[in-house]
Symmetry: C2
C-alpha cells in the first residue's frame, strides 16, 4: 500500500510548475498502477491549451471556477466543483480559470514524470519517456 500526502509532496520534486500551473504527482508510472494521478492547480485568470495526442486524461474539479473549450467543435463547458471532463478522443482543448482551479487528474498511460509539454501541447508517447 502506498500512502502519500499532497501537503507534504507539494514541497518536494514531485511538485512540477510551469506557466501559471502546478502539478503534484501523487502516482507515476513507476508506481505500477497502470495510470498516474496528479493534483493540478491553475492560477486564477490563466489560460492553457493542451493536446495530449498520446494519452487519455480525466480531470475532476475539486474547487474553483473556469471553463473548457473543445477546439475541434468550439463548444465551451463550465468548470466548477463536481464537473469532470475526460479527453477520450485526445481532444485539443483550452482550459481557463476565473478562480484558482484545483483538479484531480488521471492519465493513461501513466506519466513518468519526465515529460514536458511540447510546442503542440502534447506529451511525448510513453515509450519516449520510459
Amino acid at each position: 500500500m502506498i500512502v502519500r500526502d499532497f501537503n507534504k509532496l507539494k514541497n518536494t520534486d514531485k511538485s512540477v510548475s510551469d506557466a501559471r500551473w502546478n502539478s503534484v504527482r501523487m502516482l507515476l508510472a513507476e508506481d505500477g498502477m497502470g495510470f498516474s494521478f496528479h493534483i493540478t492547480t491553475l492560477e486564477a485568470g490563466s489560460e492553457h491549451t493542451f493536446h495530449y495526442k498520446h494519452h487519455f486524461e480525466s480531470v475532476y474539479c475539486i474547487s474553483g471556477k473556469g471553463s473548457i473549450t473543445d477546439l475541434a467543435t468550439g463548444e465551451t463547458h463550465e468548470i466548477k466543483p463536481g464537473v469532470m471532463y475526460a479527453l477520450n478522443d485526445h481532444d485539443h482543448h483550452t482550459l481557463r480559470s476565473e478562480e484558482e482551479l484545483v483538479m484531480a487528474c488521471c492519465f493513461n498511460p501513466p506519466i513518468t514524470g519526465n515529460e514536458v509539454h511540447r510546442e503542440d501541447g502534447s506529451y511525448a508517447p510513453a515509450e519516449e519517456n520510459a
Copy 2:
C-alpha cells in the same frame, strides 16, 4: 470529450449505494479511458473492509476524516484532505470514517458498473463483468 457533473449524476443510475457508502461513477469501462473514476462518499462513523484482488485502486481524500488499516501489516494511516492511498499490492484493508469522507477513486482495470462486492471484499475480475 466527455463532460459530466457529479451533482447531476448523483440522481441517476450512475449513483450506486451499499452499506453506508455511495459511489457516483463518473467514468466506466464503456468510456474507453482504460480506467474508471468514481466519487465515493462514506458515511460518518462507518467501517468498510475491501479486498480488490483483481484491480488496482487509488483513493484521494477530498474532504472528511478517517483512517485506513492495512490488514496484512496491521499498520494504520490517517486519512484527511490531501491524503491518497493506492492499493498497488491489491491490499486487503479496512477504511473507517470519523467524519463523512468524500474520495476520488481510480480503478484499473476500469469498473464496468455491474460489479458487486463479493463475500471476500473483492470485485470479480474484469472479464467476468464484461
